[in-house]
């Protein structure tokens, strides 16, 4: 199995007639994803490059049985698109769009029911290797296996997956949760799902400076709600201090959010912290007690 995205996932693209939407719809289909159509309000009834276009998510869902939507619509309309997908009862909404007003996301997350999982916005999406790709990740770097990966960064995820694959370590599911201040799915949600997933033996968590998602993940392990081996990396440990939004953003959490705090939180629960992405495959092999082709 996998988490969030599997053999039963039927995917539509909201914004399929746009340049990015169509480009990535083609790439998802080429990867083997069950891409059953797309939505662009006002352009329903057309077929673009073999994809059926619908006016609304509800209609697309009724006609295709879609249960996953990937959103590529421009920032001013993206919150509307997420709410429409949730309203239509889509199980999994992946919002790729970068630049959505933070206040829009405050309202969206207050309104989306718990039966709809939102990933992102400003995220690269999710891949269950060999099964489906929903988002913008380059499919060729992934390989099927038993390591889950969760990350706040897009391109750094590709980097680390590439290194895992080169070392012969395949992945169960890889989730890019996104880098915006308000996102639908955080590390803790993913760890809880990976804990229940028989196909996942260990997890790589790729964090970043700022926020407390990493500290919260460490807390989950301390509470024994995630018990599988965990390998971590914190991006930006050499980044200069002071790149942050005003004072209030930092004072919510006091001294948390610094790289030191995140590294200490993981060390305390016994999860190795890699110094460089290149060290991750070796650490994963060690916690899984299997040799890697490093």
């Amino acid at each position: 199995m996998s988490i969030f995205l599997n053999e039963r996932s039927k995917v539509i693209v909201q914004g399929i007639t746009g340049r990015e939407g169509l480009y990535h719809a083609n790439r998802m289909r080429a990867y083997g994803t069950a891409l059953v159509g797309g939505v662009t309000p006002g352009k329903g009834g057309q077929t673009v490059e073999g994809f059926a276009v619908f006016d609304g998510v509800g209609e697309a869902r009724a006609k295709t049985g879609a249960n996953v939507s990937v959103i590529f619509v421009p920032p001013p309309f993206a919150a509307d698109a997420i709410l429409e997908a949730a309203d239509a009862g889509v199980d999994l909404v992946i919002c790729i769009t970068e630049g959505i007003p933070v206040h829009d996301m405050l309202k969206v997350m207050a309104a989306v029911p718990s039966t709809t999982r939102v990933i992102g916005p400003n995220c690269p999406g999710i891949v269950t290797p060999g099964v489906a790709l929903a988002g913008i990740m380059p499919g060729h770097v992934f390989s099927n296996g038993r390591v889950g990966l969760i990350s706040r960064s897009g391109t750094l995820t590709y980097e680390i997956v590439d290194q895992l694959t080169r070392a012969g370590i395949g992945q169960s599911t890889c989730v890019g949760i996104g880098g915006d201040p308000i996102i639908g799915t955080v590390f803790v949600d993913c760890l809880v799902a990976f804990e229940k997933d028989d196909a996942t033996e260990a997890v790589v968590l790729v964090g970043e400076i700022g926020g407390t998602d990493e500290e919260d993940a460490a807390q989950l392990v301390a509470e024994k709600k995630f018990t599988k081996p965990l390998v971590t990396f914190i991006g930006g440990r050499s980044a200069p201090k002071g790149k942050r939004m005003g004072h209030a953003g930092a004072i919510i959490t006091g001294s948390m959010g610094t790289p030191e705090s995140k590294v200490a939180a993981f060390q305390k629960i016994g999860a190795p912290v890699a110094d460089s992405p290149a060290d991750i495959p070796g650490l994963v092999a060690r916690v899984m007690k299997q040799p890697a082709k490093v």
Binding site: H24, R27, P75, P76, E98, G99, I100, P101, V102, H103, D104, L106, K107, A110, A111, P124, I136, M137, P138, V141, R152, S153, G154, T155, L156, T157, Y158, E159, D162, Q163, P181, I182, I183, V186, E208, I209, G211, T212, D216, G235, G236, R237, S238, A239, G242, K243, M245, G246, H247, A248, G249, A250, I251, I252, G254, S255, D275, S276, P277, A278
Partner: protein
């Protein structure tokens, strides 16, 4: 988009939040005219975005049109810097406001809480000082309330915060009213942060916003055309200005001290690249994230920006394409090199992911060979810089 104090106070005035009356001056003559029209005990305050202006001498007192001359002369044109930003900022304007008789200084802010996905209101009786220090040393002194945005603000929230933060009892109701006005403003302008520090309690028991800090969401500016025109004209790093002019965000270019120029796509990967260059024994000259889906013109300008820093001795471009396409990056790089000004022997490029084959073909046609991995590229770039 951070606003200057006087701009934030203009927003406060519109929202009905009491603040001292004042006027802005860009020259000593204007300062004199302001004081002549309204001679009264006043404060002359440097209008800068950088922190620490008080310690740097950017706040002075005066009472009429004669004794405003010295403070205005001293502050206008001075450079204010701090440990985080040693280049600092030159003062172009001062805000001259009525002086208050202050009995006590409180703290109030509203921002976005990532963990709860809600707006968070924070209040403290320890105002007027560095809040971060308060948060670290006396976390119990800051009261917090996470508001359900679908319910909105109700006055009990302000009263509860006042009680939990030990604010003076006699200002509780007025405080709850000001929090409500600040909450409305937070949503009206699409702010990431609205902060009043200090929120002064005057000797006659009134609450007054002595300072303002407002950070607006750049992504929401399309809804606030009027505010978009308020962008403070602050003198900044010219290379950062060029990055912004190229369509990149406020934080996509950051100048550092080293000699290895760095360009990458995605903040995480660029941070990882800085880590890799440091691990290889080198020092990054900058952080430059060309963002997602960058086209050739952005890449071309990125190369021009980084290589116009005279300290740069080698350039490491690290691209892992997702939404960014390798052929676009390669085209932009080739265009920049054709424009001259950078020796391709001092260039290391790692190009993989979406359209990497097409990208490598463009590079090869121009005699540029891409390396395979980030660590290999970092080592190579550091070696060139140290030659």
């Amino acid at each position: 988009m951070r606003l200057l104090e006087y701009q934030g106070k203009e927003l406060f005035a519109r929202a009905g939040i009491p603040a001292p009356k004042g006027k802005v001056a860009a020259s000593v003559e204007e300062a004199v005219a302001i004081m002549r029209a309204n001679p009264a005990p006043s404060v002359v305050k440097a209008q800068v975005l950088i922190g620490g202006r008080g310690k740097a001498g950017g706040i002075k007192f005066c009472s009429d049109d004669r004794d405003v001359v010295e403070p205005a002369k001293a502050i206008l044109g001075m450079r204010i810097a701090n440990a985080q930003d040693p280049t600092g900022e030159v003062v172009k304007r001062v805000w001259i406001e009525q002086r208050m008789d202050i009995a006590k200084e409180l703290y109030l802010s509203i921002t976005v809480d990532r963990a709860s996905k809600r707006p968070i209101i924070m209040a403290s009786a320890m105002g007027g000082m560095d809040v971060e220090e308060v948060a670290e040393k006396h976390p119990e002194a800051i009261a917090k309330y996470r508001v359900d945005p679908s319910v909105g603000y109700w006055p009990f929230i302000g009263r509860r915060l006042a009680r939990e933060a030990n604010l003076p009892k006699e200002v509780t109701n007025e405080f709850a009213s000001i929090v409500g006005k600040l909450y409305a403003l937070f949503f009206d302008v699409g702010a990431l942060l609205v902060e009043i520090n200090p929120l002064a309690v005057t000797k006659d028991g009134k609450l007054v916003a002595s300072d303002s800090k407002v950070d607006l969401d750049d992504n929401a500016m399309f809804r606030h055309q009027e505010l978009a025109a308020w962008k403070p004209d602050v003198e900044r790093d010219p290379l950062k200005e060029r990055a912004i002019a190229a369509g990149l965000g406020e934080n996509n270019y950051v100048q550092l001290d080293g000699d290895v120029g760095i360009i990458g796509n995605g903040a995480g990967l660029v941070m990882g690249t800085l880590d890799a260059v440091k691990a290889a024994g080198g020092q990054p000259a900058n952080f430059l994230d060309i963002g997602g889906g960058a086209k050739a013109d952005v890449m071309r300008e990125a190369v021009n920006i980084v290589t116009s820093n005279p300290k740069v001795r080698s350039l490491f471009i690290n691209i892992f394409g997702g939404i960014t396409r390798g052929d676009e990056v390669a085209k932009g790089l080739v265009e920049a090199l054709e424009g001259g000004g950078w020796d391709r022997r001092k260039l290391v490029i790692r190009l993989t992911g979406t359209n990497e084959k097409e990208g490598r073909e463009v590079l090869r046609a121009n005699n540029i060979e891409a390396v395979e991995t980030m660590n290999e590229g970092a080592k190579h770039a550091v070696a060139i810089a140290q030659k």
